[in-house]
């Protein structure tokens, strides 16, 4: 079976700067794969390329064996490729429940319904609420997102992705900006994700990376430095060199 996600010689240049420099990357089905690298390495750019926010200068992207390079952002989502944002990108003035409801309405196609009141799609609202319960967000379902602490907003960020029933999930620094005592909840949520979802997560928090990841890819200046199991990465001299000088922590 073809891997969940594959990039082939992926290149993206902004003028002289190559944010993606010939990236050949494979995400296996059901994988827990971490993408790490110093600030500005091109991790977010990689997610933007894969999800269609950025158009590659050259190269190809395959989802479950099929090329998606020419597809729109929405078409990729429809095929199960879903991402979260490094900086929370939520509908801030809307309630938590409505945020998730909007995502589900897109998934099931209800959002094209011009006439029936959204409230009549009760199954969608119920599904949204039931998704919030295990994430500990149900008590705040009817509060506007802005009123929630940033750590809680990061949880909604994950809820929005799960609402789309992803096959491949790209998490861009899910714990970024979360106070230390709240990162535990995020890690647990990631660990509890259904096993059939292939997960790629970008993270600076090495504790989280080594706890969750089965494989790790290290990206430096737009290029893959090394890839391997956590044990291999921990002992790799090149990685140590990169992280001695530039680690966030």
């Amino acid at each position: 079976m073809a891997p969940a996600l594959e990039t082939k010689s992926l290149v993206k240049r902004f003028g002289a700067l190559a944010v993606a420099n010939d990236i050949n990357f494979t995400l296996e089905r059901g994988a827990r794969h971490a993408l790490i690298g110093p600030n500005g390495a091109g991790k977010t750019s990689f997610v933007n390329l894969v999800t269609g926010v950025l158009t590659p200068s050259s190269g190809d992207i395959h989802l479950a064996g099929e090329s998606i390079t020419a597809l729109s952002r929405a078409q990729r989502v429809k095929r199960g490729l879903v991402r979260t944002f490094q900086i929370s990108a939520l509908f801030k003035k809307l309630t938590v429940l409505e945020n998730v409801t909007l995502a589900i309405a897109e998934r099931v196609g209800a959002a094209n319904d011009l006439w029936r009141p959204a409230g009549h799609h009760r199954d969608i609202i119920e599904e949204a609420y039931d998704l919030l319960v295990p994430l500990g967000l149900a008590d705040e379902a009817l509060r506007p997102v802005t009123e929630l602490a940033y750590g809680r907003q990061r949880m909604i960020e994950i809820a929005m992705a799960l609402a789309l029933k992803p096959k491949v999930l790209l998490l861009d620094e899910p714990a970024a900006g979360v106070p230390p005592r709240e990162t535990g909840a995020i890690i647990e949520t990631i660990e509890r994700l259904p096993a059939d979802i292939a997960v790629l997560f970008i993270e600076h928090d090495m504790e989280l990376v080594f706890r969750v990841a089965q494989r790790i890819t290290v990206l430096v200046q737009g290029a893959v430095l090394v890839e391997g199991t956590p044990a291999e990465i921990a002992e790799d001299p090149k990685v140590r060199q990169v992280y001695l000088g530039e680690s966030k922590h």
Partner: protein, 335 residues
């Protein structure tokens, strides 16, 4: 024990979902504009003609609110669709087709067509570029109407319109009695359509586009298509509004396509409150009644006062009249 807690949860669940699912239900205050309109028919008998203009303009402002207030599509050229609708109805009425309801229908279709075609081009952009492009579309149409004087009457305006009685029964009279009821009825239908759209799943997705376009892309929404759909619908409603004005004044001029027309409309909507569905119902009457009173005294002072008032609204009364109401309500509730 598990039994008890899960039952508690269920109770909560239902309450939350019910509260969320009932947001579209009619609230008592939504009857106010209609009751007021009926009362005004009897209270101000000599102002029926003005009333008809106000209703038609409310529909125009309502169509703009769908774009700016709900979808976040900021346009400076909405008069394009108003004018196209006015000319469509006017040209029919001046050339042998006198039945009013079919004129309105044709105006809606023609305006929707122009909205769709121009939307295909201008909606690719956003911000200032979009503002400029919508303005250009209206300016081009105005120039077209000016040059094509054999059909539109050019700068003299379109004259010689003749309108049959509505349903063959109610003749348009000099006092505007028929026009008042006619425009109110069409506005009511337009409002029902707009309200339904706003509370539909489609309408909520427009709010999503306004609040965070990137997120809408990330949840798989066909953002461009959604914008085009609401742009077309809004254009149709604006076209209907233009047709109403044409029919009830029996006059269509180049000013129906003017930038000042679009600008004035935004002012009215800002005064009432954008993105609240009822801003049009407050801002338009306020503006037009004030204009009717003041412009008789001195048209130059009128624009001075409106300018001053706008500064006041922008600085002190964010969200217009309705915005002030909302904050007042919130403060009272939090006490």
């Amino acid at each position: 024990m598990t039994d008890l807690s899960s039952r508690d949860l269920l109770g909560d669940r239902k309450a939350v979902i019910d509260a969320f699912a009932r947001r579209h239900r009619f609230k008592w205050y939504e009857a106010i504009p209609w009751l007021a309109a009926i009362a005004c028919y009897f209270l101000f008998e000599s102002y029926h003609a003005l009333g008809a203009q106000i209703f038609a303009t409310i529909l125009f402002a309502l169509s703009l609110d769908l774009l700016i207030g709900f979808a976040g599509i900021v346009t400076l050229g909405h008069a394009a669709f108003f004018g196209v609708g006015a000319y469509a109805a006017g040209v029919m009425a001046a050339n042998g087709w006198h039945e009013p309801l079919s004129e309105v229908l044709v105006a809606a279709i023609v305006a929707a067509g122009v909205g769709f075609a121009s939307g295909l081009i201008v909606l690719r952009t956003a911000g200032l570029t979009l503002l400029m492009q919508t303005l250009v579309v209206a300016a081009l149409l105005q120039e077209l109407a000016n040059k094509w004087s054999s059909v539109t009457g050019g700068s003299d305006g379109l004259l010689g319109m003749k309108i049959d009685p509505i349903f063959g029964l109610f003749r348009f009279d000099l006092f505007g009695d028929t026009a008042y009821v006619y425009c109110l009825a069409v506005l009511f239908i337009g409002w029902l359509i707009a309200r339904n759209i706003v509370y539909s799943s489609f309408g909520r997705s427009l709010t999503g586009i306004r609040e965070n376009t990137n997120r809408m892309h990330a949840i798989g929404a066909p953002v461009d298509r959604r914008k085009l759909v609401i742009y077309t619908i809004s254009a149709a409603l604006a076209g209907v509004s233009g047709a109403l004005i044409a029919q009830t004044t029996a006059l269509v001029g180049l000013n129906t396509l003017a930038l000042s027309k679009s600008g004035e409309l935004i002012i009215m909507l800002v005064i009432g409150g954008i993105g609240r569905l009822y801003g049009a119902f407050i801002g338009v009457p306020l503006y037009m009644i004030a204009q009717d009173r003041f412009s008789q005294i001195d048209p130059i002072y009128w624009y001075f006062w409106i300018g001053l008032f706008m500064i006041f609204v922008v600085v002190f009364a964010r969200g217009g009249v309705l915005g002030v109401f909302e904050r007042f309500n919130q403060r009272r509730r939090s006490r």
